[in-house]
């Protein structure tokens, strides 16, 4: 009798035809694992690559976009890209970790927990003995250590993480859900948090990529110094009023439908359905994928393996949810209009100068 394999199965090498022969649960897992590279992702990846280069002059990159746009998937792709690019060095130097990706913690406390945050970065760096870190104190000419029996202090963790990143040669630190850093904060506290992040970047020599919703954009307005060293990369959704976006979205839907492990979904690839889906998913690829996944689950479970368009309707976002997402997306797009990477032009600058002069 064989014991069940606890490792997750790799579905990347399976085709749709192979997936059709799988049991329902695995078919769903197969479709969940399908990720498509599309022009929007490729464009943002290229921007990220440029901005995180050593000579770019940027310390912090803010990757903002509407919820469900696919930012987390993009970050995974970016991480894999960085790993591939550093493979030679990783083989030569077994301690080298070029990229670290963590999620900013939301512990439910009123204030952001830096201790948990540094712990997560330490774990991602494989840093051992995290709860035994000591702080070095310089008292004039003498150097002593401050160790705490109940665990490492935040200052000790911070110093340990900075040194670990520096010693491991970490180039990029990706912080997903970075908006958690700003919850319940006044402007001064926000600046303090960003200063702590900047200090982390400076001490370790790494670039920070903060990923999150449009809230992150507020960081740009805190000071001129921050504005200079921060770059905003906007991961846009596919807009309904842009014919090119509509065309690309239709192809996206067609490609995804090709991987759906169920018979009878071919109609979804039509122009009519792709427009409906684009509207229903607010132009966000992530929401589209989630919707199709939910619809597939519905079809497999309740539809007894047969596809029907009713399954798709049940999987759609509720009207209030949809409105909330769209409003946030529209407001966010407006707020980042003048600050996005690659959008600066001399004309726009002149306009800005004139409006400021008029205001003064």
């Amino acid at each position: 009798m064989c014991s069940p394999d606890s490792r997750p199965r790799d579905y990347s090498s399976l085709s749709r035809e192979d997936a059709l022969r799988l049991p329902d649960a695995e078919r769903l897992a197969f479709f969940r694992a399908v990720k498509l590279g599309h022009p929007r992702i490729n464009g943002v990846l290229a921007d990220l690559d440029l901005v995180t280069d050593d000579d770019s002059g940027t310390s912090i990159a803010l990757l903002v976009g509407p919820t469900g746009a696919g930012k987390s998937t993009l970050i995974q792709r970016f991480r894999e890209q960085l790993l591939r690019g550093s493979m030679e060095r990783m083989v030569a130097e077994p301690w080298h970790i070029p990229v670290v990706s963590v999620e900013a913690p939301a512990t439910g406390e009123r204030v952001f927990s830096w201790r948990t945050f540094y712990y997560r970065i330490g774990e991602a760096l494989k840093e051992p003995m995290l709860n035994r870190k000591t702080e070095t104190i310089h008292q004039g000419p003498r150097t002593i250590t401050k160790s705490v029996m109940s665990g490492a202090t935040v200052a000790a963790l911070q110093a340990a993480v900075e040194e670990a990143m520096s010693r491991r040669g970490t180039r990029v630190l990706i912080i997903d859900e970075a908006a958690h850093l700003l919850r319940n904060l006044k402007v001064e506290a926000m600046a303090n948090h960003l200063d702590a992040l900047k200090y982390l970047a400076n001490q370790s020599g790494a670039k920070l990529v903060l990923v999150g919703s449009y809230d992150l954009h507020r960081l740009m307005t805190l000071s001129a110094q921050l504005a200079r060293r921060t770059t905003v990369i906007h991961f846009r959704r596919y807009l309904l009023d842009d014919p090119e976006d509509v065309c690309i979205f239709q192809q996206l839907v067609a490609h995804l439908v090709k991987f759906m492990p169920i018979e009878g979904v071919e109609d979804l690839a039509s122009e009519e359905w792709s427009l409906k889906l684009q509207q229903a998913s607010v132009g966000c690829v992530g929401i589209l994928k989630e919707t199709l996944t939910r619809a597939l689950a519905q079809a497999l479970r309740n539809g007894k393996g047969k596809w029907s368009n009713a399954c798709l309707e049940k999987a759609l976002l509720g009207p209030d949810q949809w409105r909330e997402i769209l409003e946030e997306a529209l407001m966010g797009e407006k707020s980042v209009e003048g600050t996005t990477y690659g959008k600066g032009t001399f004309t726009a600058l002149n306009r800005q100068v004139k409006s400021m002069a008029a205001g003064l």
Partner: protein, 451 residues
Amino acid sequence: MVTMERMNCSRSTTTLGAMPPRSVLNGLQPMGLGTPWVESLSSYFQRLADSHHVTPKILARDMVLPRLGFSKRTSSHQADRFWRSTFFNGMGEVPEKWVKVLEDLTKVQGLVRLTLLPLRGRVGIQGTSGQGRRWCPLCLKEGEPYGQLLWEIGTVTACPRHQVKLVQACTCTPKERVPYHQVKHLPTLCWACGWVLGERTPIDLTPVEEGEVLYAERVGALLASEAYGRMGILHDRSPALSDFLNRAVKDLAGGQSVQVAKALGFSKGAVSEWTRGHHLPSLPQALHIAWIFKAELSDVLWHEGRPDGPVHPKCHSYWGLRRSYPGTRSAFGLSTKLEAILEAEPPISVAEAARRNGTSKRELYRLYPEQAKAIAERLAKSKVEHSRAIREERLAVIGRLAGEMVAAGIKPTMKLLERRLVDIPRAFLLMERSACLLKIRNETMSDPPAA
């Protein structure tokens, strides 16, 4: 039509994904490799712990000792015992095991060069253990951020770079000491007061013998040699040194090991044990052997990689010089010492010069005839001058006394002078009778005739 390729991504944001296995600890590079100032293993361990912002005790307890088979409870008690011990940088089992574990944890190779393990089975273990924590204050003052392996070798007592004695104690008082749990264990800091050692430690002004410096230089050259650490760790005795001695016996001494023993200044029994491979000479003895026979010890010990094959001993001008222990190291600077004796005051005899350098008058004349003659001539000249000065002084006293007697109306005679000059021996008066009479006559005739 836009192409959309299927991506192959891991869903987890915190796993390493396609990354090859990474080292558990930082890949800290040891310092001074390939130089005489190579870092010691204990210094490396402390810096490694500091790079992880933990104490060496915690690093030993949590990362190293469990891998050596110690239980968690034992690890807590033993954690500080190993890396602070004097044998940690030596040739024993402890450094061998620790080097292996640290190389595995850091994925840094070549840590064996931070210890004396490459000498295991090649030289004897005597004198290699450290004498406790020692350092050169000038090296640390110049900003070196690590501790040298040279300082951990018991028989090295001076810094070859600055030519000062190695120091063992900081000048901190009990009031300045910090509690143990606050001590920062770094090789450059005092573990009692937390000050940088180079800033507080006074420089020991005790004169350093040239032999000590030369010995330290030769040990440093051995540690810096390319072959050091390249050939791996031995678990049996190497025949390299005994083969070298046997070649010396055969090629230079006509098969008579007693001649080789005389040349080296060691006992016949000891040399016999070495040539037969029963025992190994200690590090100072091995260095002396190589030096006497004009070879580099690294070439003798690790001849396997040499394109010319094993080293052959050559005859040295010190052939026949008797060794003085512990001055094995002092034999290296005899010529310079003799020069110093020629400059020093007061002049000494050749016998005294030989005694001070642990040799005999006959050997000095044989090996350094010019310098020995110069020492003897200098002493003889100084004796002659001294005798002349005493003679002149005594004659002056006699002349003065004769003048006083004449002035008092007394005719000075030898008998009268003898009675009055109690400080001058009678033998002098007898030997220098004519000079004394001349002096008396001069004093008598110098008085103007009475009117």
